[in-house]
């Protein structure tokens, strides 16, 4: 089924929404974990909230965007409200040991963790605005257009954030070595 067919079918019968949840739960859970550094249970709670919001907003989706970008955007917004609600970003203060523990946790989902675990840990130390673009570009393999649609920022801004984020990441790598 195409993206628009998936959405239309879900609007006709909520049972069909199962296909959207099945298709996107693994990448979204991975993304939420990466952006918030939560335990699997907490991340799943946020993911469930994201899917409920996706269902409520199905009529907002139009075929101009990739469905994946649109569901990522909603998951991203839910993650951001979680950060706001909790006052600060959890990833900034987390220790490497804690980070490793969370990432090694058995998720029971087929999450494909990035091979560059070390870089991912360093990315966690970046400012949120850089971290989200770096995660989406290099760990979620999203194009500039997709990142622009997910974060609702222009492609030019995506480009400059990635460049600045990479410079900061390189500096962190240098400091670590």
């Amino acid at each position: 089924m195409t993206d628009i067919e998936l959405v239309t079918a879900s609007l006709k019968d909520k049972e069909n929404f199962r296909h959207i949840v099945d298709k996107y739960q693994a990448p979204l859970l991975r993304y939420i974990k990466r952006i918030l550094y939560l335990s699997i249970n907490d991340a799943e709670d946020i993911l469930q909230e994201a899917f409920i919001t996706i269902y409520q907003n199905l009529n907002q989706y139009d075929g101009k965007f990739k469905l994946s970008s649109w569901v990522y955007r909603i998951a991203h917004n839910i993650a951001i409200s979680h950060i706001r609600h909790n006052g600060k970003h959890l990833g900034i203060s987390i220790t490497t040991e804690e980070l490793e523990k969370i990432q090694n946790e058995d998720t029971s989902l087929d999450i494909d963790l990035s091979n560059s675990e070390f870089v991912e840990k360093l990315t966690a130390r970046l400012d949120h605005k850089y971290k989200e673009v770096i995660l989406l570009r290099f760990f979620e393999d999203k194009s500039y257009t997709e990142i622009s649609d997910i974060l609702r920022i222009s492609k030019g801004t995506v480009g400059s954030l990635i460049n600045r984020g990479l410079s900061k990441l390189k500096k962190l790598l240098k400091d670590e070595k």
């Binding site: 949840v21 409920i52 222009s154």
Partner: protein, 246 residues
């Protein structure tokens, strides 16, 4: 392998809480409302810019040096307030447009240039309309609006500094009887005055006078200038001679 538990719990929650997708019309309405707000912001910004142009074009730059102290500050405050209104409107439109469905896609510099161009164009159009229909003159009885749109009323109500304006009620040889912007009567000695080419010394003519105050009702003119664009609408209505001649 997918987490069927999560899928089922999402569907169960939708069922249990009777969650329904929000109607498409709501999203369309929200987007339309944002575009309407953008339009209103352009309009407000345009009015701000038009008023700034109106104010500055009515400012008699050649006599600014006559105005001293706090009066100078009061005189130059409105252009900054109009400019502030214009800038705030541009900012508001930027925010509103960014919130529209595809508003995030445009690059910052392009968006700011387009908004600024729209505000400037609507401002120039507004200024043209003001020049043609002199809409602000209908509000000159409201001091705040008058002072914010036409600096002449502030500048030319300063006989102490040698600046006076009013409507001619009578011409007697080398003297004019005028009613000033505050509704006060003045006898103007024009014997040694330079009279600008556009000035016609006749009843009901609005004029500006540079000179020297001799007493509370006498003024020696050294230069007589036309009032310029827009009909003079001061407080002359309070003057009995003025009312009787109308």
């Amino acid at each position: 392998m997918k987490n069927k538990k999560l899928t089922d719990s999402v569907l169960e929650r939708i069922e249990k809480e009777k969650i329904k997708p929000i109607k498409k019309d709501i999203f369309v309405l929200k987007n339309t409302a944002l575009f309407v707000l953008c339009g209103i912001s352009i309009l407000i910004g345009g009015v701000g810019f038009a008023m700034n142009l109106t104010f500055l074009s009515r400012l008699d730059w050649s006599v600014i040096t006559y105005v001293q102290g706090i009066m100078k500050f009061v005189l130059f405050t409105p252009p900054f307030l109009w400019l502030l209104l214009t800038v705030v409107s541009i900012f508001m439109m930027y925010i509103e447009f960014r919130k529209t469905k595809d508003g995030y896609r445009m690059e910052n510099k392009h968006l700011i240039m387009i908004i600024a161009a729209l505000v400037l164009i609507s401002g120039v159009i507004g200024w043209g309309i003001e020049n043609k229909y002199n809409i602000t003159s209908y509000f000159t009885n409201v001091a705040a609006i008058r002072d914010a749109t036409d600096p002449r009323y502030k500048i030319w109500s300063n006989p102490e500094d040698g600046l006076l304006a009013g409507e001619i009620k009578e011409v007697i040889n080398d003297e004019l009887l005028i009613v000033d912007l505050e509704g006060m009567d003045w006898e103007i000695n024009i014997k040694d005055a330079f009279i600008a080419g556009k000035v016609v010394l006749q009843n009901d003519e609005s004029i500006k006078i540079i000179g020297e105050k001799v007493s509370n009702s006498r003024f020696n003119a050294s230069k007589i200038l036309p009032w310029g664009q827009g009909k003079m609408r001061g407080m002359q209505e309070n003057n009995s001679i003025y009312r009787n001649t109308k």
